[in-house]
């Protein structure tokens, strides 16, 4: 699809795909997208999705400008996809990523792609790299390997928000985090082991971007060590102000330097 050059200079294709066309996705396609390598962006969930959306969109734009076809999509029960927030589950999100990989490969004609995951999206993409032969490289933006810690952070941010606005807010209900429902079932899934297993034979390169506070994370370091042991090229970089999901939604922060770094790393492959 070619757009009017007087208005825009990129090719955007929004789609519904997956079972019963229940998943929403949006492509930023390279000029010759049937020849171009592909990037699949796995977004975070809940308030983190809302606060990272603009950054992920910019990542897709930059990837397309650099000759890649980039796909973003919404998990079932989030964003524009079908379903209610209460239906969100990690197992469902894994299936959604697989559906998105399939759609992206069909659309762009590639057999393998780079998966870029943010927060829980990074965790799940890394988990799937064990079994999906289509994922040959991974970019993990602040992956979550410790679900208890994630839940504590969410609860802390919810309490801080309430404390800031308590003189004008109703007491939040249980399982409510910054405007989104986080069910008991979802919390239970998060409390299970999140660390990815051994990677599949297709995986060749991994870029992991983390906050300085995570640099001594036993879970992340242990996983990285395992990857290196298997001969996979792993780069771990510490990024300042990585936590864009903790900023107010209206701020819509775009970490330009980090996005450039991600695209450069993907291109180097």
């Amino acid at each position: 699809m070619t757009m009017s050059p007087s208005l825009i200079n990129e090719t955007i294709v929004p789609v519904y795909f997956g079972p019963d066309s229940s998943l929403y996705g949006c492509y930023n396609l390279a000029a010759d997208y049937r020849q171009a390598p592909a990037v699949l962006i796995c977004q975070p969930t809940g308030h983190e999705y809302e606060r990272c959306h603009r950054a992920m969109r910019q990542l897709a734009v930059q990837a397309a400008k650099n000759g890649f076809s980039a796909m973003r999509f919404d998990y079932y029960a989030s964003g524009d996809s079908a379903g209610n927030c209460e239906e969100l589950s990690l197992s469902g999100m894994r299936l959604d990523i697989q559906q998105a990989i399939r759609h992206c490969c069909d659309k762009t004609g590639v057999d393998q792609l780079t998966a870029v995951g943010v927060r829980l999206g990074a965790t799940l993409a890394a988990q799937l790299a064990s079994t999906c032969p289509e994922i040959d490289s991974l970019v993990l933006y602040a992956p979550v390997f410790d679900g208890e810690k994630l839940l504590a952070e969410w609860q802390g941010d919810q309490h801080a928000f309430y404390a800031r606005h308590s003189h004008k807010l109703q007491q939040p209900g249980p399982g409510e985090v910054l405007g989104f429902s986080v069910t008991e079932k979802f919390q239970k899934e998060l409390r299970q082991k999140l660390t990815p297993g051994a990677p599949g034979p297709a995986l060749k390169r991994v870029l992991t971007l983390i906050d300085e506070a995570e640099s001594d994370s036993v879970l992340i370091n242990g996983w990285v060590k395992m990857l290196k042991h298997q001969g996979i090229e792993v780069t771990v970089e510490i990024v300042e102000n990585i936590a864009i999901w903790r900023r107010e939604p209206m701020e819509a922060i775009v970490p330009v330097k980090t996005i450039r770094r991600i695209v450069k790393w993907i291109k180097e492959g």
Binding site: M1, M3, L7, N9, A82, L169, Q170, F180
Partner: protein, 296 residues
Amino acid sequence: MHEEALLLGPGQSNVGVFTPAADNTDAQSDMAAICITAGLLHHVGPHRMHVLLARALTTKGISTLRFDLSGIGDSSVRSDDLPAQEVSVQEINDAINALEKRGFKRFILFGICSGAAQALRAATGNPKIAGLILVNTGSDDGNTEVDPRPAAQFYLKYSFWNLNAWKNLFTGKVKYRALIITLFSALIQKLKGNNKNVTSVGKRLQSRIQPFMQQGTSILIVLSDRHAQIYTLYQKAFEKLQCAQFNTLVYADTDHLFTSLSLQQDLIDRICQWSAELVDDGARDTSANFTVDTVG
């Protein structure tokens, strides 16, 4: 229900999602709603509210289009030199045109914050706009002068008596510069005896809304956060607008973006009810042409 992803406008550069009315509703309306993006948040809306609203409206026989203005969400950035205010009017009209091609004749524009301001601007002089739902809008008349007294009143009336507000003050969680400037400016205005601006917010909004009363557009104003606390400034101006359907919902217990899940649901339910009555004019209680409901 099958939602449909769309590209809108002459350049097919605006991304939107169309939610058709449910097939099993008694009568599908010729009225469709359009959700306009709030600030830099994309068409899903704050806390997914546009999606929830669109799906709730389907049960009332109302189809909905939510879309991203240029440079926001999934839409492209424009490369022409059109000013931002004109862009939003043009692109809302493009969305209306796309819905007209699907057989819709009357429209409800829904917007939160800047989305509400853009809805107001786009609806001006357009008789196809049957309803406007404006959540936390300002006067949007280009007047950048901000009266500090409503904010100062808020601090003195509410924050002063609130323990958490004091905790925030002493733990560095407030913007000190903004707080000092607001209180100082309000004091100066008071000492000067300048009362001209006290109701200016309401008056400016009144002047923006008056044309819609004449054009027969129904309006639902929703106020929360500081907008709700300074409602008294709007009230006098609003009371003069009784010539057409004009309803106000004041949510005293929530923030700007309706972070509370229960109040999100309450707002969606009330908007659905209001829109359903708009579709079926006969169902509307004519004695309720001017109402103010306080929630919470």
